[in-house]
Amino acid sequence: MPAQAKLLTILTEAVLEDDVVELIMAQGAEGYTISEARGRGAHGLRSGKWSAGANIRIEVVGDAELCARIAERLQSDYGRDYGLLMFTTPVEVQG
């Protein structure tokens, strides 16, 4: 991975985990990291209490183009019907 890269952070519904992960890898990402989350947004309170009401937070480090492609695909597949917030930050990969 080049030192200059992008971090794409995806906040979405836990029920989408398998599909989103498949899409990320299919777009050519080298990996991803998931942690559990809860929160609130346009789709209301998601308390994390049970799987239908829980969020996940997925991070993908990769080049800008990959991150943009993943974000675009996710937005078009799930953006309309599911809770979804995505943003990118520039990062410097170490080591």
Partner: protein, 318 residues
């Protein structure tokens, strides 16, 4: 204790949870504990059903089973036009809610069983199988209603979700293990799965109360129509179940349980399946109605009514 009031103390834990939510207590049951409790309940119910089935000649039950599934399939078909035309809900929302009410609630069913235990009434153990069998047509009908003439259905994904979604999978898996292992094979597991069942149900109801408290507000947003539906629909379905059970010659306990199955609405399996298959439906509507309204109605008022109905039917009919 008294036949008159049919009160089951385990529902007090639901009240405790609702109050904690409404009073903004910091009581929280961690998500992983909720998952563990629901895995326990699904497996335990499945095992119990499998053990019961092992005692019967399954072949003899096939015709009864077919009748029950067909009558059960009426429920979403009746619910859909009511929601769509009387309630003026969107096609997707109407279909999704119809699927929730055609599906069944394992916890409501479990409270029904403990109530029978308290009333010292027997029931036909194989009825547990319908916790699995009634889900399938309800969810499939829900999707057909949502998609009728409206774009393609992801049937592969949907059927996968229906059969391998964790609720059905654990119930069905428990059924098979209980059936294969039989009463003696399961007996060393009884200490965990059967003796602790009611206590675990109490904890689960506490958690459900906490979640329901959040849903009650949702329901307020969606108004009187849905609240009325959430009370009248189970009464209708229960009547259907009572008559069906009586015609099939079930015992009083069995008739009551069939009514309870029909009257109960899903808030675990159906939400997950509908989220995948009909994602444009608003989950707050269906869960608000089934968990915020129908579930408490059933465990506090519905079950005693259905028991009274079953007794009446058997007293007058037989």
């Amino acid at each position: 204790m008294g036949g008159a009031m049919s009160f089951e103390p385990v529902v007090l834990f639901f009240v405790l949870g609702v109050c904690a939510g409404l009073l903004r207590s910091d009581l929280k049951i961690p998500g992983s504990i909720y998952e563990a409790l629901s895995i326990f309940i699904l497996l335990a119910i499945g095992l119990k059903g499998g053990v019961e089935m092992a005692k019967h000649a399954v072949g003899a039950l096939l015709l009864d089973g077919l009748v029950i599934v067909l009558v059960g399939a009426l429920i979403p078909l009746v619910a859909f036009p009511i929601l769509r035309y009387l309630g003026r809900l969107s096609r997707a929302d109407s279909a999704s809610i119809a699927a929730h009410y055609g599906s069944v609630s394992v916890v409501t069913f479990s409270v029904g069983i403990t109530l029978l235990g308290q009333e010292l009434l027997e029931f036909e153990g194989y009825l547990i199988v319908f916790l699995v069998l009634l889900e399938i047509p309800a969810l499939v009908i829900g999707v057909i209603l949502a998609r009728h003439g409206q774009g393609e259905v992801r049937w592969g994904k949907l059927l996968h979700e229906v059969f391998f979604g964790k609720s059905i999978y654990l119930l069905a898996g428990g059924l098979v293990i209980g059936y294969v292992a039989g009463p003696e094979g399961i007996q060393p597991l009884d200490r965990l799965f059967f003796d602790l069942f009611k206590g675990v149900l109490a904890l689960f109801l506490l958690e459900m109360g906490l979640v329901a408290a959040m849903r009650i507000a949702d329901l307020r947003t969606y108004g009187a129509f849905l609240a009325g539906f959430a009370v009248l629909m189970p009464l209708f379905s229960a009547t259907l179940g009572t008559v069906t059970g009586w015609l099939l010659g079930l015992s009083v306990g069995g008739t009551f349980l069939l009514a309870t199955l029909f009257a109960s609405a899903s808030y675990i399996a159906a939400p997950a399946a509908m989220r995948i298959a009909v994602p444009e439906a608003n989950p707050a509507l269906s869960i608000g109605a089934s968990l915020g309204m129908t579930f408490p109605f059933n465990i506090f008022l519905g079950l005693p009514i259905y028991l009274w109905m079953a007794r009446l039917m058997h007293a007058s009919g037989g």
